[in-house]
Subunit: 465 residues, 2 copies
Amino acid sequence: MTTKTIPGEPTRASMKTAIPGPRTEELRARHGRHQDARTVHVYQDAQKSLGNYLVDVDDNVMLDVYGHIAALPVGYNHPDLLAAWRSGRFDWAAGYRPALGIAPPREWVELVERTMMKIAPRGLTKLMTVTTGSEAVENAIKAAFVRHARVRRGGAAPSAEDLAACMNNAQASANALAIVSFEGSFHGRSLGSLSLTRSKAIHKLDFPAFPWPMVRFPDVKFPLAAHAAENRASEARSLEQLDATLKAGGGNIAAVIVEPIQGEGGDRHASPSFFREMRRITRAHDVALIADEVQTGGGATGTFWAHEAWGLDDPPDIVTFSKKMQLGGYYCTEEYAAPEPFRIFNTFLGDPIRGAQLEVIVEIMERDGLIAGARETGEVLVRELVGLAERHAGLLEGARGAGTFAAIDVKDAATQLRLLDALRQRGLEVGGSGTRSIRFRPALVFGPRHVAEAISILDDACKAL
Amino acid sequence: MTTKTIPGEPTRASMKTAIPGPRTEELRARHGRHQDARTVHVYQDAQKSLGNYLVDVDDNVMLDVYGHIAALPVGYNHPDLLAAWRSGRFDWAAGYRPALGIAPPREWVELVERTMMKIAPRGLTKLMTVTTGSEAVENAIKAAFVRHARVRRGGAAPSAEDLAACMNNAQASANALAIVSFEGSFHGRSLGSLSLTRSKAIHKLDFPAFPWPMVRFPDVKFPLAAHAAENRASEARSLEQLDATLKAGGGNIAAVIVEPIQGEGGDRHASPSFFREMRRITRAHDVALIADEVQTGGGATGTFWAHEAWGLDDPPDIVTFSKKMQLGGYYCTEEYAAPEPFRIFNTFLGDPIRGAQLEVIVEIMERDGLIAGARETGEVLVRELVGLAERHAGLLEGARGAGTFAAIDVKDAATQLRLLDALRQRGLEVGGSGTRSIRFRPALVFGPRHVAEAISILDDACKAL
């Protein structure tokens, strides 16, 4: 095992109160006067939390496999990250928040070269940085639209009519453009990215959406070996529908966007061959393939980017990121870099303090072999989840994962909610996915001993249900 | 004068090379291999820059009145901000980037209560935080849509048809909804906010847009006293068009969004009575009034929020912010807080490290009287710009401002570009606005001696044109 332990990390969860505890409820009441605090699980003691263990304001110590919705790369308060803050290494990013497109610090260029491009997906040489996943997706689809319109114009300049019409939101050729997304997908919550999101009605209700088409995602069942034929058939049906949708698009579809694993919509997986075929089809239609790695990127699936597991010769055109990367953005091929400046642009273009932290995080990942660690720990985790499902047949099923990016299904939505609560009461901070899955999104410092503890809590909670 | 000087701040700009200098060009070539570097003015020495003076990698010292597109609140490397970083005051925000809606640090609640609500616009008790201006606007209009649909349903639950249709981007009642924005406005670049932006075609070309209506912004001319009647008539025409647009909207318009000063589209102003009348009209139509203060908020106009100058009894329903505030978000009334959790939500919900910095910035502003300082310095700046326009009649006109948020027009677009370059060559880092304005967005530590230097550079550059 390559995962290094973090000195002083608690040896196990220990609960002082029910969850949420009285101090959390007191803070929720205060917080709720000004912000929506109903979604808060617990208020956290940010400085006592360490490694895989969240400490809340009621002194409950919880093993965290939710990781702030998959956004915790090296656990809480990693000593190397704190040491970097204290050493002055981030001082260049401490004295103001710059507009990185106007007057970037010299160190930003060095950071891009030294770290951001080192971790770039193979074949993607261009980088755009923002601060969140929604903005990453918004800009990625803009890059696809820019490239699509450029190809369609055959290099000609935009017409005076188009330039005038777009100011009235009335450029017909642009308004006809579309992006294809998959049933069950989550790509963000701003109105462009939300038009691609298909996970839950409460995310979309009452908001205007672009009339963009949806394709069903394969209904892959686990264990794979027991469902090989039906899984293949389900994937084939999705690919047929994708091909038909692109044909029906009349040349107006600029991109297909897909998560390597549907991280919000039920942890649905598909096979590498499914994605390879998707690459072939999008290439045949000259449509961008966008791998949305906001939740999967950053090592938890056992490779830095989840799409590495697809075995593509021809990479995705665009790969988005955020969450564990601490800032958002996308990588793309030269083809998808806008020829004109200021078309893909904004004031901040990311945040250098988060980029500077990412560099230390990547150093920790490399030194401690955390990606290999996630792969190895993930094998243990999924094996244990499979065993758990066997012990609790009728309650649990469908254990699956790539690295520690894992999930298990609960028999129904009501039981999922009861189980989530039972787990939190026993010291496991965990989240749901879709309507009946439990998702595991631990930090990269999650090791076999944490797996054992999580499984023990799961077992106990299942018995008590 | 209440503005405090920053110890060690350069006494004046001093240029070693032409702009851009050779080290900037060397970095641009490196940076441009991976990111779009064509928009960069200079690469910055982030640690040598101090107060109002940017130091670039060629050791040029420039007086900065652009402030990273209006995002520099207390100048570069304010000693109190650096001292706070070093004192451990930000340690609670240093060890990981949290999901503020799931497990926020206790200190976040205290920060919201102590600082974010202290600076809240009068009458607005609710706060939503994100990381950028585009996200602030996206979420503000979502809040308006949620409230509009709720009122329209009269408190009834959404229908099963609506819940199903929205998953296909086909909820007809939602797709008919619209937000009104003004000609020349800038509200962001994600596809929802971009449908509201009307400043430049290059921002909008080839991107799908919602078919939302636009109203002309008044064509207010300066000096105000010389154009009183035509300004009043122009404002009246805009208000008539606004009223007609809301009438024609058939109950589908959820909000009107407006910048107090059009910060990107030519620094266009309107009178307090124009905005008061806009408030009356939006109230009469039961439509949200959103004051987009992404660029104007944070003190530079001489009040913390620019809309304070409107003298409203009945505040805007929603006020957005970002830029100088270092993180994004909006304040709103109770009426615009979503009744259901998770409708307005995302992973990060802002960034506590930027919130922690904002608290120190607000402390500096209060202790040093920086808002009063901006008001006083702004009076000097605008008076000097008026004098400059008189000395360069035929070249410059229309000096105007609120606080130090000021501008002057150049005779045409080609001359604007030449003047911007001539200013930068002489050590004034400055930006354009619209097609022929020069905008001033200095930090709040910009004082009369900086005004004198900026005016001297402007005078010299104008003579040389």
